[in-house]
């Protein structure tokens, strides 16, 4: 088992290197630091001196890949690639435009992000799987038909509408919970309840439909016929036989996103003013803070790869065919 995990980790390394190279190319090769400086400073204030100063402040004045001016190992290390890209592997993300250390900022913002994303994820999973299981149980009835119609309608509604509509109705018209903001400790629940609710509702449509398809695929399999031929009641057929098998494809899509919960949700956090990583990213995009966006891309990929590894591990728990290999 341990050897298996180590092997998966080793597989992940080349992928991370690839991600790193792509971000490097995007941020430093497509546009030169000079271009970025011109953009950041605005057309009016562009002078060669100002550009140079901007670059020095951020460490963008070094050569991209190879520094011929210094000696020894520094030829490779005193470059933009090494300092800005390669150092991300050891958790050094540099500083944001406002001068704060990005790594510390990220660490402090993960908590609020998780406070929203984790309940949304768990509650959403429970609600959608239960709904999908109910639809599959009553398959080919009017209930199933209208349930699917409801799902298609719900997935045709923009995510923005759920947030805007929910905020307007619940916070503004009914005044049940504060419209936005975030509190510390136990007080936070008042702020969390609405974003979590909206997050769950907005995911119902597409997830339920997807899970229903998976359940229906399992329902048609031979072992279900065997289970029925044993005289088992339909509920037992569903919960003992079908659910267990359907979990395998469901896990593929679900476990992979668990680590990404740390990243929070861009929309929810910015609408509700939650100081998490999602709003951090949005602010960085609006302020064109390249260092932060770059760091988030890298962290996002790391978390995704962790998710892939977790998926593999979770398979071994659910699927005996993999466990015993």
């Amino acid at each position: 088992m341990l050897a298996y995990i180590v092997r998966r980790l080793l597989y992940a390394l080349p992928i991370l290197i690839g991600v790193n190279l792509i971000t490097f190319a995007l941020f430093f090769v497509v546009n030169t630091p000079d271009d970025m400086a011109r953009m950041q400073l605005g057309v009016k204030r562009v002078t060669p001196e100002a550009i140079q100063k901007w670059k020095v402040e951020r460490g963008y004045d070094k050569p991209l890949l190879w520094n011929a001016e210094v000696g020894g190992l520094a030829k490779a290390t005193e470059t933009i690639f090494f300092e800005k890209s390669a150092r991300m592997f050891v958790g050094d993300f540099g500083r944001a435009e406002d001068g704060r250390d990005i790594a510390r900022e990220i660490a402090s913002r993960m908590g609020p992000s998780l406070a929203i994303a984790l309940p949304t994820f768990l509650l959403g999973l429970f609600v959608t799987i239960s709904f999908a299981l109910t639809l599959a149980f009553f398959r080919a009835t009017a209930f199933d038909f209208w349930g699917v119609v409801l799902c298609v309608a719900m997935m045709s509604i923009s995510g923005l509408f759920y947030i805007i509509g929910g905020q307007y109705l619940i916070s503004k018209v009914w005044r049940l919970v504060p419209i936005s903001g975030f509190g510390a400790g136990l007080e936070a629940w008042r702020f969390l309840i609405l974003p979590v609710l909206i997050g769950v509702v907005s995911g119902i449509g597409s997830s339920t439909r997807w899970y229903r398809t998976i359940f229906l695929e399992e329902v048609g399999k031979d072992y279900v016929r065997t289970a029925r031929a044993k005289g088992l009641p339909e509920t037992l057929v569903f919960f003992r036989h079908i659910l267990r098998n359907a979990l395998i494809p469901i896990l593929t899509g679900v476990v992979v996103v668990i680590p990404l919960l740390f990243m929070g949700s861009l929309l929810t956090e910015s609408f509700f003013g939650i100081p998490g990583l999602g709003s951090y990213t949005i602010d960085a995009i609006n302020a064109q803070d390249f260092a932060v966006v770059r760091s988030m891309v890298f962290i996002g990929s790391v978390l995704y790869i962790v998710g892939l590894i977790l998926t593999d591990i979770s398979y071994t728990l659910v699927d005996p065919r993999i466990r015993f290999e």
């Binding site: 065997t226 044993k230 037992l236 699927d319």
Partner: protein, 657 residues
């Protein structure tokens, strides 16, 4: 004990209701095996599902009664029915591989039944499960209870299925094609097991099968189904002694058999009518050779003659042989010089593992096969699934690159040949595949499919001459001209196989590699294809490498036979030699395991233990020794050398009989 009366079952398709089973009535006595026999699509499986009320979602029960011990099952509520299913009536299915739940242990799956129907739990249940597994012949049952289905081989899975079925102590077991997915040696084991369990428990069995051999081996009484109707019901002796319905008679005559060598097989023209378009009179009338005007107007009633019931207007007796058979002359005589020689052919697939995908071993799919094929002759390559026979065929054509050995066609060495030169050589050999539904591209017209090889290999010119050539080919395989413009989905399985044959013949090959070309077809269609192959061989002098697991076909068709086991040939020679005097224990066992569609049989049957091991890790010494009744210490340590018994007959065994 079970009495089915005028059962009518249907499928809902849009606004249409397609009747799949139309007024079927039969009964089964306690301790009796009733076999429901029929070709695919005749409604026999639907009947079984209807009795269990396990029809698929689109299935409908239109009418009739299913009485079990006087209780009408069709009148029960669904909840009441559940106490019958798995309890007094149990069922096993065709595909043991998919019929077991892959994520539950065998113990859990048997335990469910014990809990549901006998209320057993805990240690008592475990004890019962161990008993059950032992009864179905699974060794080390305590340990295996905690294993998952994927850890069992195909035959073992079917044993587990049987154990599940027995757990509820049923009085009736419905077995839906229980051995169709299994190899012959394993099939023999499972049939023996079922027969033994029936004798021990006095259980009734409703056996659903398409195989006359299985019927002869198992059944006390037989019912023949055709197009949703039961057409003949008889006791075993009467059925095999004197089948009365023209359909049954034709089925028997369509069977390939050694006694029919040199003659054409009887065929049933046309095909089973589709559910939506049943003839109004007798449903067999369009294909019947005794058809009368009355048959087309009026559906016949049952006629009974001392327990032998037939639904037919025709009153004649058993077939008058001769006039409707079209004899073929067989090209017997000595083999000419072989034009294809295979020497020590090897195909090894690497097994990769670990971080850098190192090769840690090889699956020795083909491990040193030597063959020779002479013009105009048929060499049958026989073996059970996984023995590597299909790989041999593909490696000959260089569809799979061989890992070693030589394939010589005339003076050309094929192994390692590439590009233009390989293409030139390929003209001499072509292949016909097993599955007629997967071997034709659904997006191309039949004409384009046949033309493909001609274009690629530059045979015959373009335009009109090519059209004429395609039309001639279609005529040769018995299809009309206008088939050219149609698409494969418009044809039945047998017709598709004809198209595939025409495609292969288009480049005028000297050798056709036929990979189980009839195993996906019904008996009557199989006969058509076998006749066609024989006729083509007589006309064109083409040689066949016939890859099959079906001994009846081998007996009927082959001049020479090679028997494969785990990647190697264990015995080869002329058909008469190998089939009449087999010397390798494996050949003997294989031959005796095939259930014969006759009353006599069963004498001196050799039963093989176990199943074919994995070619990734073959047993040391002779590969066959773990299953061989004659194995000695020598067999366990060293692979035997090949012994020549005659000029043509060779066997690879230390103890040839």
């Amino acid at each position: 004990m079970l009495r089915v009366e005028l059962l009518r079952l249907a499928f809902q398709s849009g606004r249409q209701t397609l009747v799949a089973v139309d007024g079927v009535s039969f009964d089964i006595a306690a301790g009796e095996t009733f076999a429901l026999l029929g070709e695919s699509g005749c409604g026999k499986s639907v009947t079984a599902q209807g009795i269990m009320r396990l029809l698929p979602a689109v299935g409908r029960i239109l009418g009739g009664r299913v009485c079990f011990d006087g209780e009408d099952l069709l009148a029960l509520s669904e909840a009441e029915m559940r106490t019958w299913r798995g309890g007094r009536i149990a069922m096993i299915f065709q595909e043991p591989a998919t019929s077991l739940n892959p994520v539950l242990t065998v113990g859990q799956q048997i335990g469910e039944v014990l809990w549901r129907h006998l209320g057993l739990r805990g240690a008592e249940a475990t004890g019962r499960m161990v008993d059950l597994l032992r009864q179905v012949g699974i060794a080390d049952p305590e340990r295996r209870l905690n294993e998952y289905p994927f850890q069992f081989s195909g035959g073992m899975k079917q044993r587990v299925m049987i154990a599940i079925a027995l757990a509820g102590e049923p009085e009736l077991l419905i077995a839906d094609e229980p051995t169709t997915a299994l190899d012959v040696t394993v099939q023999a084991q499972i049939l023996d097991l079922l027969a033994r369990l029936q004798a021990e428990r006095g259980m009734s069995i409703l056996l659903i099968t398409h195989d006359l051999g299985v019927v002869a081996r198992m059944a006390h009484r037989v019912g023949v189904m055709y197009a949703g109707e039961l057409v003949e019901v008889a006791g075993r002796e009467a059925f095999f002694g004197q089948p009365r319905h023209p359909y049954t008679q034709a089925l028997f005559e369509a069977l390939p058999d050694i006694s029919r060598r040199g003659r054409g097989l009887a065929t049933i023209p046309g095909q089973v009518p589709s559910l939506g378009r049943m003839p109004s009179g007798c449903r067999f009338s369009d294909r019947c050779r005794h058809v009368m005007a009355r048959c087309r107007e009026q559906s016949p009633d049952w006629r009974k003659l001392d327990g032998h019931a037939v639904r037919c207007h025709w009153q004649g007796e058993a077939a008058e042989a001769g006039e409707w058979r079209h004899p073929l002359t067989e090209m017997e005589g000595a083999a000419g010089r072989s034009f294809l020689e295979v020497d020590d052919l090897k195909v090894h697939f690497p097994i990769r593992k670990g971080f850098l995908q190192r090769t840690v071993g090889h699956v020795r799919a083909v491990d040193g096969v030597s063959l020779a094929i002479a013009p105009g002759r048929t060499l049958a390559l026989v073996g059970e699934s996984g023995c590597g026979k299909t790989t041999v065929g593909k490696a000959l054509l260089q569809l799979i690159p061989p890992s070693g050995g030589a394939v010589r066609l005339g003076s050309n060495e094929l192994v390692g040949l590439k590009g233009q030169r390989l293409r030139a050589v390929r003209r001499h050999m072509q292949m016909i595949f097993q599955d007629p539904f997967a071997s034709l591209n659904p997006r191309l017209r039949v004409g384009d499919i046949i033309a493909e090889g001609m274009e690629a290999l530059g045979v015959s010119g373009g335009g009109a001459s090519r059209r004429a050539a395609i039309a001639a080919l279609l005529a040769q395989v018995g299809l009309p001209d206008e088939a050219m413009e149609r698409y494969p989905h418009e044809f039945s399985g047998g017709q598709r196989q004809r198209i595939a044959i025409a495609r292969a013949l288009a480049v005028q090959p000297e050798l056709l590699i036929c990979d189980e070309p009839t195993s996906a077809l019904d008996v009557s269609v199989q006969a058509q294809i076998l006749n066609l192959l024989k006729k083509l061989q007589a006309e064109l002098g083409v040689a066949y490498l016939f890859i099959t697991h079906n001994f009846a076909v081998v007996e009927y068709l082959a001049h020479d036979v090679a028997v494969m086991y785990l990647g190697r040939i264990v015995e080869q020679g002329r058909a008469e030699e190998v089939l009449r005097q087999p010397h390798h224990p494996y050949t003997k066992a294989l031959l005796s395991a095939v259930p014969a569609p006759r009353l006599e049989a069963l004498a001196g049957v050799i039963r093989l233990a176990g199943e074919t091991p994995s070619p990734a890790n073959p047993p040391a010494g002779c590969h066959f020794h773990p299953r061989c009744p004659r194995a000695s210490d020598l067999c366990r340590s060293q692979y035997p050398a090949t012994v020549a018994l005659s000029a043509t007959h060779r066997v690879t065994c230390y103890h040839p009989e």
